[in-house]
């Protein structure tokens, strides 16, 4: 079988990138899952807005919202969404230090410290929100 071979320039072999390039490596798969977490971030906002609308409409509507959110399919969806949103948070806090250079009194703050600060802020805000929500 003759290849397309000119006198001065052999035919280079170029492999096409498959649509499923991200399945072949674990690190690529985790990356795509991380990117897909944004869909569940959007869903969480939609869910929150539905809650806010129900709260704004009055007691009975709010109760209907709570009842609907305990239906099996909604509960399952939110469990999956929660997993992805937590995954988003963890990957975000672990990667943020790599993207920023923070200096305190001229010395660079270690990456682990920056990550720790993020996690601490997360814990604090979560505790504050929980305290506000639960009576």
């Amino acid at each position: 079988m003759s290849a397309d071979y000119t006198e001065f320039h052999p035919r280079w072999y170029r492999r096409r990138m498959s649509v499923f390039w991200w399945v072949s490596r674990r690190s690529y798969l985790i990356f795509v899952l991380r990117e897909l977490s944004s869909v569940f971030v959007a869903w969480s906002v939609v869910f929150l807005l539905l809650l806010i609308r129900a709260v704004g409409q009055g007691g009975p509507e709010y109760q209907r919202f709570v009842d609907r959110s305990s239906e099996p399919w909604m509960l399952a969806l939110n469990v999956v969404a929660l997993a992805f949103v937590v995954f988003h948070a963890i990957t975000w806090f672990n990667l943020a230090p790599q993207a920023m250079v923070v200096r305190v009194r001229g010395k660079r703050v270690a990456r682990s410290r920056i990550a720790l600060a993020h996690y601490a802020g997360w814990a604090l805000l979560s505790a504050l929100a929980a305290w506000l929500i639960v009576e």
Binding site: E35, V55, G56, S69, S70, L75, L82, A89, S126, A129
Partner: protein
């Protein structure tokens, strides 16, 4: 040239949105999506939630969270479609759907929060 100026600003929104979503969405989704519906902790009374939500600071935080998190999704999802599914040829449609959707959601959030 306008495109060159917009992309960095969209990335800033994406970044701020990622941080806001990471800090606040887990606890909110945990309680309203799992803990209360599952009955592990009784859901708060409507009057209590209404008074918390009506607080101007709460409204500002929730509005900021909604806008930023939606634009975070828009930017990230756009690139997921470009790279993950190699749909760059549908770029214009993707941009309209993603950022348009985020804009619409932001409008709805503002309307709902103002009307509380």
């Amino acid at each position: 040239m306008a495109k060159r100026r917009v992309e960095p600003l969209l990335w800033l929104l994406f970044s701020a949105g990622g941080l806001a979503a990471a800090l606040l969405l887990p606890v909110l989704l945990l309680f309203f999506g799992l803990v209360f519906p599952a009955g592990w902790v009784p859901a708060p009374a409507h009057a209590h939630l209404l008074s918390v939500a009506r607080n101007p600071l709460t409204r500002i935080v929730l509005f900021g969270l909604s806008v930023l998190a939606l634009f975070h999704w828009a930017h990230r999802f756009r690139y997921t479609l470009y790279d993950g599914l190699q749909l760059k040829r549908l770029s214009l449609l993707i941009i309209v759907v993603c950022y348009g959707g985020a804009l619409a959601g932001s409008g709805i959030a503002g309307y709902l929060l103002l009307g509380l």
